[in-house]
């Protein structure tokens, strides 16, 4: 066989594999949307569930998802961005930073059910007087441990992308290091930092296992952070497993997919802005 023919076969195989991946994706999304979209209407989105979720709407799960995402990000963002600033601006590559980097990377590789188990033992049981047991707060704190690595690493990359010539230019004007970070470095790196935050929101929205063990899963609308709740993902799991109401499950799945799609598109829009800033 001559090399040209081999080249053609290789190209055909590879493009076939590429096509297959896209087809699988389109098939899954298409199937879920075709099953679920018919369910979605104003009533489905705004009314309370009946019969353990087998009938009625998904309003409490939407509220629960919002509460959990907001609480998680309010706690995780300052910690993660602060750690990234410390790592990139205040330390050089020493022993402590390599330990911190290793820790964040190791944290990123842990299966989410393990985070859930930890959250259950620590936040739900041990800290019950503070967190209220199964609650939005317990789940949010568990979520924080899960998304911190993402936030730290994306923020660190974004800060690293800011050229040193800008730092020098600012310091040479007689500004302090903190003024330089606050007034120049952070705003310049902001699109990249926001990308990390949005990806983390996606992770919280999509997560099920960890919140199964920490959020409780009540169908009531939460009145405070110490109340239990359920997210859309959790609702989907529970409806499918406990009631067998597949139409509601697919409707919830369709809402979830649309939500995640919006989140990812926003993230990539911010990321493109970061790239543009340096070209």
């Amino acid at each position: 066989m001559n090399v040209l023919r081999k080249q053609k076969i290789a190209f055909a195989c590879l493009s076939g594999l590429g096509l297959l991946t896209v087809c699988v994706l389109i098939f899954i999304i298409g199937y879920i949307l075709s099953q679920g979209l018919t369910m979605i209407n104003i009533e489905f989105l705004t009314s309370k569930p009946r019969k353990m979720g087998a009938e009625g709407g998904i309003f409490p799960a939407i509220i629960g998802t919002l509460y959990l995402v907001i609480t998680t990000m309010i706690i995780a963002t300052p910690i993660g961005v602060g750690a990234a600033i410390y790592l990139n601006e205040y330390t050089s590559r020493g022993k402590i930073t390599s330990v911190i980097r290793f820790a964040t990377e190791a944290l990123a590789g842990i299966p989410s059910i393990v985070f859930g188990l930890f959250g259950f033992a620590f936040f739900v049981i041990l800290l019950e007087p503070v967190t209220g047991g199964w609650s939005i707060l317990s789940a949010a704190l568990t979520g924080v441990t899960m998304v911190l690595p993402t936030i730290v690493r994306t923020a660190e990359e974004a800060l690293k992308a800011v050229p040193d010539s800008l730092r020098e230019g600012s310091l040479a004007l007689g500004t302090t290091k903190w003024q330089t970070i606050k007034g120049l470095i952070l705003p310049t790196a902001m699109p990249g930092i926001i990308t990390g935050i949005i990806l983390s929101i996606g992770r919280v929205v999509g997560e099920t296992a960890a919140f199964l063990l920490t959020l409780g899963g009540t169908l009531l609308i939460p009145q405070s952070l110490m109340d239990g709740s359920r997210t859309l993902s959790l609702h989907l799991y529970m409806v499918a497993m406990e009631t067998g109401a597949m139409d509601v499950a697919f409707g919830t799945a369709a809402v979830l997919i649309i939500l995640i799609l919006i989140i990812n598109l926003t993230a990539s829009w911010f990321f493109r802005r970061l790239i543009k800033r340096f070209s």
Partner: protein, 252 residues
């Protein structure tokens, strides 16, 4: 000659073990342009960066001897580096405009130093851009991004940004090496204008440039000062053989 505004006394500088500057003694007078020339790696930029302590940012740098500015040793423990850098501004080799509007670039320094009133900032921005001979080119687009300016305009913007802080001394580290000849000419004209109000120390690898714009020229070689004299004398009748070899192009 009046008392020098900047005086380096027996200055040694080390990068770790490596000694980059040897026993530098140099007096720089007020409202003059002093050019530092010499081949690559001779220590001229390193010396320039000791004058506003930008070398502090480099790991492993240590210094012996002293540098006096206005009679005060800037390496004294009591010296506030932030205050020093307000007084001693710096323009870099590659234009480094901040990724923000032209207006915000200029207002950045004054804002950091506590000026908040809009009218006052407007006045500073206009004055600085006029001083840097950039006002007429940008006055209609002050709020568009500084990154959209040409290289030469960006460098004049960086000069305006330094002037907005009202320094006494302006250090320039090969400010035209990234610019085309026309933009270079504009910056040179500007430097000549600025001399009336500021003391300027300029590092250049372009000898014609040193000859064109400076009053005093100091020739660096291998981390030492070989010769410092009135520019016209250095270029027509140098007292040192090495200086002569360098300016006539025998090496470097």
């Amino acid at each position: 000659m009046s008392t020098p505004q900047i005086a380096a006394k027996n200055l040694d500088l080390f990068y770790g073990e490596f000694q980059a500057l040897h026993d530098i003694n140099l007096n720089i007078s007020e409202k003059q342009i002093t050019a530092l020339i010499g081949p690559s790696g001779c220590g001229k930029s390193t010396f320039l960066r000791t004058l506003n302590r930008m070398n502090d940012l480099v790991k492993g740098v240590s210094i012996k001897g002293e540098i006096q500015i206005g009679g005060e040793n800037i390496y004294d423990k009591s010296v506030n580096v932030v205050e020093l850098r307000k007084k001693v501004g710096m323009v870099f080799q590659k234009p480094n405009p901040f990724p923000m509007s032209i207006y915000d670039n200029i207002a950045y320094g004054p804002r950091a130093h506590g000026i908040k009133k809009k009218a006052q900032l407007n006045e500073i921005v206009e004055r600085s851009l006029k001083q840097a001979a950039l006002w007429n080119e940008v006055k209609d687009r002050l709020h568009s991004s500084a990154l959209g300016l040409s290289g030469g305009q960006q460098q004049r913007l960086c000069i305006a940004r330094v002037l907005a802080v009202e320094p006494e001394i302006v250090l320039m580290d090969e400010p035209t090496s990234a610019l085309d000849p026309l933009a270079t000419l504009k910056v040179e004209e500007l430097v000549n204008e600025l001399k009336q109000q500021y003391t300027i120390v300029i590092v250049t690898h372009n000898m014609q440039q040193a000859a064109r714009i400076s009053d005093i020229t100091s020739f660096f070689l291998n981390g030492k000062i070989v010769e410092t004299d009135i520019t016209s004398k250095v270029f027509t009748n140098p007292s040192n053989k090495q200086t002569e070899d360098y300016i006539t192009g025998k090496f470097g």
